[in-house]
């Protein structure tokens, strides 16, 4: 398929309960509400509310988005080994592949960037459930798909009141980790 030049595809994958659907929503809102771009977010639905495979695609474009799903992924986040195995084939040759190295032993691609999101969430944010926001901070830092400011505004407007500071910190933890990882790569 020939893509519109302005089209950018992100896939967040892992297992149910890791907060990836919310992360996808936040990314889409950051891109549209604050970034002024068109977005479509789709997700795979299974019968499981918790556990089971979980995947969300976010397509961001300056033009109209016809086909709503990702076909040739620019950024892939895998938060489990199973999702890394299943989805890395959809990633472009030069795409950005980020895995939670705490949960993924073998990304299957040399270019993958491993960051221990879940471990960072536990150690630096106090709870594993911040792993999605940590990851969001990292992939936005690595891909620059949305402005950092847009992301932070979106997250702060959407999280339960009282948790703003914790989420802001989680984003920053992700950004720092991404910078460190980039340093290692280069």
């Amino acid at each position: 398929m020939t893509k519109s030049s302005g089209r950018f595809e992100i896939r967040l994958s892992g297992s149910g309960g890791q907060g990836l659907m919310l992360a996808g929503k936040l990314l889409a809102e950051a891109a549209s509400v604050y970034g002024g771009k068109n977005t479509v977010q789709t997700q795979s639905y299974g019968p499981e509310a918790r556990g089971g495979k979980s995947k969300t695609d976010i397509v961001i474009s300056t033009e109209d988005i016809d086909y709503p799903k990702a076909t040739s992924v620019d950024v892939l986040l895998a938060m489990t080994q199973v999702s890394a195995d299943e989805y890395r084939h959809a990633l472009k040759e030069d795409g950005l592949f980020v895995v939670d190295s705490y949960l993924v032993d073998n990304p299957g691609r040399d270019s993958a960037i491993g960051i221990p999101f879940t471990l960072l969430a536990i150690e630096q944010c106090g709870r594993a459930l911040f792993a999605n926001v940590v990851a969001l901070g990292a992939i936005v830092e690595l891909s620059k798909v949305v402005e950092w400011d847009s992301l932070e505004k979106t997250v702060l407007s959407r999280v339960p009141s009282g948790t703003e500071e914790a989420n802001k910190k989680a984003l920053a933890v992700g950004r720092e980790a991404a910078r460190r990882a980039m340093g290692k790569v280069s």
Partner: protein, 383 residues
Amino acid sequence: MSGNNERSIWVMQGNEACSVGAVAAGVNFFAGYPITPSSEIAEFMARHLPLIGGRFIQMEDEIASIAAIIGASLAGARSMTATSGPGFSLMQENLGLACLAEIPCVIVNVQRAGPSTGLPTQPAQGDVMQTRWGTHGDHAIIALAPATVLECIELTACCVSLSEQFRTPVVLLMDEVIGHMRESVEIPAPGSYRVHSRPLPRDGQEDYQPFCGAHGDVPPMASFGGPHRFHVTGLTHDERGFPTMVPEEVDKKIRWIVDKIELKADDLAMNEETMTDDCEVLLFSYGSSARVAKASVRTLRERGVKAGLLRVKTIWPFSGKRLRELAPQLRSIIVPEMNLGQLVTEVERAVAGVVPVRHFGRIDGHLFEPDQITDFVLEEIAS
């Protein structure tokens, strides 16, 4: 949903947008039964109707749900229900009552793969013919199919308006892709949608006749509780609403409920065309399949194929007018649908052999991929 109020750009799910459209059009009563992939609509209405003076109820099944919205409409409400295939099947009998008794209401069907329980979380477009012919007996139906989240708002409002204007049930035929996807939309300005109200009887009208238009007009509709009490029945009835077996009266009634809609098919047609001016290969599609077809048209053009897309938003009544207008310039018409051939039969009828029509179906619970449609078209051209 969330968004930036000043700029009115929101990222919204199709099902949420459908609910927004309903509220915009004045829907103040919702009855429903949980079913994937439509439940978000019921959840939205349960949350919001009590805030705006409306009422929500979760019924014991879909049969009761449509019964309740028909009853509510008779008592003056603007009413809606939402369901998916299995629930839509259960609604068919009462849908027929609403057609015959000329009672406005809106039924949203977020299509999933069937038959039977099928694939509850996966898309299909297999209910197109059930929408048209699911209830027994001769009747007509209006059904609209959105392809974007913005259209979920617009066409839901349009469904409400048409149901009121024509005094008939109207179906919003969504599919799982459109219902569940989230898309950026610019919320329209206040007053963007013109929504008709049902024609009302005059105050103090003595000889009120609630049914069967006398001069080709949709007859005025009183509400239970107002000054004009009347009888409503699912038996074939005369202008007053009383059962009749007089052949002329029966014939008149049935022709009326069909003609009031079918004769307006061309007026009710809403289409979106992409690069049809000079096209030789026409893709004809609707709903989420049409989004893919549109991507495919762009690719085909890049490869030098004069392709175009006619996307219908009005599924029923079917209008063949635009197809007949385009037919002379076409070498072929290709109809991608997520079924084994439903609306394609209407396309064939419309062009009556003037242009070859080929159906392209996908029924494995997944949306087409653009390459699939592109390749199919290229093979068709080659053969």
